[in-house]
Symmetry: C2
Subunit: 363 residues, 2 copies
């Protein structure tokens, strides 16, 4: 059971990482003062695999777990779903000093986290992430959110969990496409700060969930990078924007496909390559580093199903909400693998060329 602390102003919270560690969960809860009554929020798919195990272990240890099971999918991150969960929590008499356990991937984490942040002005929150993406990214950093019909994650809060409990064994049953999504963020951490990550991925049979040892290493490295960034800038003043690497163009791609066809992590993988292209074209990133990034991205992303991009639509979504279409953008770009620099003058033309490039590479 490895422990990484996310140090933040006025406190901090630990991430526990290990393989096959579920049985240790009740003891960790007790250590953190979690009281008897807890409510586990999860989705139907995750429930089918882990819920009975978790509930049984909790009961055996003297906890009194209630359960809320919702349908899977991003559409659950809605105000109406949140309202219905509030009602269930009140009926379950969840009190202010009791705890919500978010068991699942990013959607469950964001949704249950938002509920925990706002029910009775905030109850205890514990993350048990069951996807690679949630283990390396969404459970760490204190952001919770739901969607609005006009945009994703527009409603939310900064809210810290009591702790995060990442059991790598949950990745064994994860669909291959979900693994690829998580690897998008993992590669990002490698490029922005931790060269070791790229070394591991380059030489191994990744994406494959068989070798849990490799994933344990990747999750640990990734959690370290994200913790470090969040420790320096929890509220996203500026430095935390480094985590947006790959996301400006990645989000544009996702949005241009109406959030269908491509998953978030898949779009981010392509976005990373596109933004690295901007950097190498500027003469900022050495060509040898760019070629290495490209090789790794192509290896992971070769199974991504849909690669048809509408350049104008992508550009439109990137510039949405900005007043001037030609306005220069802010962006951290790699200057070599493991090191980033902030730029405030990314032009429309550079973005346009980067999208041309990925259209070429992925066809």
């Amino acid at each position: 059971l490895r422990r990484i602390i996310v140090k933040v102003r006025d406190g901090g919270y630990p991430i526990y990482i290990g393989s096959g560690i579920l049985e240790k969960f009740p003891a960790v809860c007790e250590k953190h003062g979690i009281r008897s009554h807890v409510v586990i929020i999860t989705d139907r798919i995750v429930a089918g695999i882990y819920l009975d195990g978790l509930v049984g272990i909790m009961r055996d240890a003297g906890f009194r777990p209630d359960v809320i099971i919702i349908p899977p999918g991003e559409s659950q991150k809605s105000i109406s779903r949140v309202a219905r969960i509030y009602t269930e929590l009140i009926k379950m008499k969840l009190r202010r000093d009791e705890t919500i356990i978010a068991l699942g991937g990013g959607v469950i984490g964001d949704l249950a986290g938002f509920v925990a942040a706002t029910y009775l002005r905030g109850v205890n929150l514990v993350y048990v992430p069951t996807t690679l993406l949630a283990q390396v990214d969404s459970s760490i950093g204190g952001k919770v959110a739901i969607n609005h019909k006009f945009g994703k994650n527009l409603i939310g809060a900064f809210y810290r969990p009591v702790f995060i409990f990442s059991d790598i064994e949950t990745l064994k049953t994860l669909p291959r496409r979900e693994l690829i999504c998580g690897l998008g963020e993992v590669v990002k951490y490698g490029i922005i700060m931790k060269k070791d990550i790229l070394d591991i991925i380059e030489d191994r049979d990744v994406p494959s969930g068989d070798n849990l040892k490799i994933y344990r290493k990747l999750v640990e490295h990734s959690a370290n990078v994200k913790s470090y960034v969040v420790s320096r800038d929890e509220r996203e003043r500026k430095y935390r924007m480094i985590l947006n690497f790959g996301h400006t163009i990645g989000h544009g791609i996702e949005a241009s496909l109406n959030y269908k066809k491509l998953k978030h992590g898949e779009a981010i993988l392509i976005g990373i390559l596109a933004e690295s292209f901007i950097s190498v074209k500027r003469g900022v990133l050495p060509k040898v580093d760019f070629e290495r990034i490209k090789k790794i991205i192509l290896k992971i992303s070769k199974e991504i199903p849909h690669k048809e991009f509408d350049k104008n639509s992508i550009l439109k979504h990137i510039y949405l909400d900005k007043k001037i279409m030609n306005q220069r953008l802010n962006m951290f770009l790699p200057v070599r693998i493991g090191m980033m620099r902030f730029f405030d003058d990314i032009s429309f033309r550079e973005l346009s060329m980067a999208i041309d490039y990925i259209k070429e590479v992925f066809f």
Copy 2:
């Protein structure tokens, strides 16, 4: 322009208090780094009195104020209203570094505060309270909330404003019944910590909104008491419960009348007398202090319209959510005017006798 600082962990925020100070508002905004684009949230009644003035002053100073006007009343503190405000804010393109100004009483403060806490994971919040209750109580302390059909303020957050701006002149147009409500909390502050408040009220023509100088003093004293308590215990671990004096029985009365007939502050006034009765009966509070409290409460509350109490219903609401009807309750009680002590053994019988007492006094 008097300034009181609410000192809290990791920061603080000022309360500006003065009479006829609206014209200074833009300069105070600028001093606190408020950007050009702001959204004022207010209700129809307050809008009719103050909105044009505020908007004009803001525009003249170079700000770009948008306005959201909602109907008045507690029923607006709903999830559906919050959802509609989110939509308006998105259409107004309010950005993360911009500001929501809550112009109005407690309902507007709670509602606009909750929106500010959750829109884009939190935007700047400024309170311009226009009722005595909001100036002395609800705008101070960082609590924001909306209601759920199963109970009041069940959904909420702790969220700090950038500053609070209390113009005493707004009290001139306040209905007399609203003044009485605010005085409930003011008297509470006097009993728990600031004897001066009772001296002022005892000798003056209160409740009457004519003498703004008196109200300015009362608001300053009250803001000082509340700031002090919040500084010591922002998250309501224990000490902040001192502010619940009068509220255990007061809430029971309100709830037993289904939140109709009596206003919150009116119920609190009666609750203060009832809880002081428990204290004097215990031999904890000197009789002379109790008589003084009684005299002041009766003076203020003589205009309260409805005084019919159903003891069993009140007791039921007090014990709602507790498992055992006879469970002993926690409560701060006065040991003399200006000093409180914590008790964890308030019995059903004491509550019952206290309600008998107020039934007798108010009939």
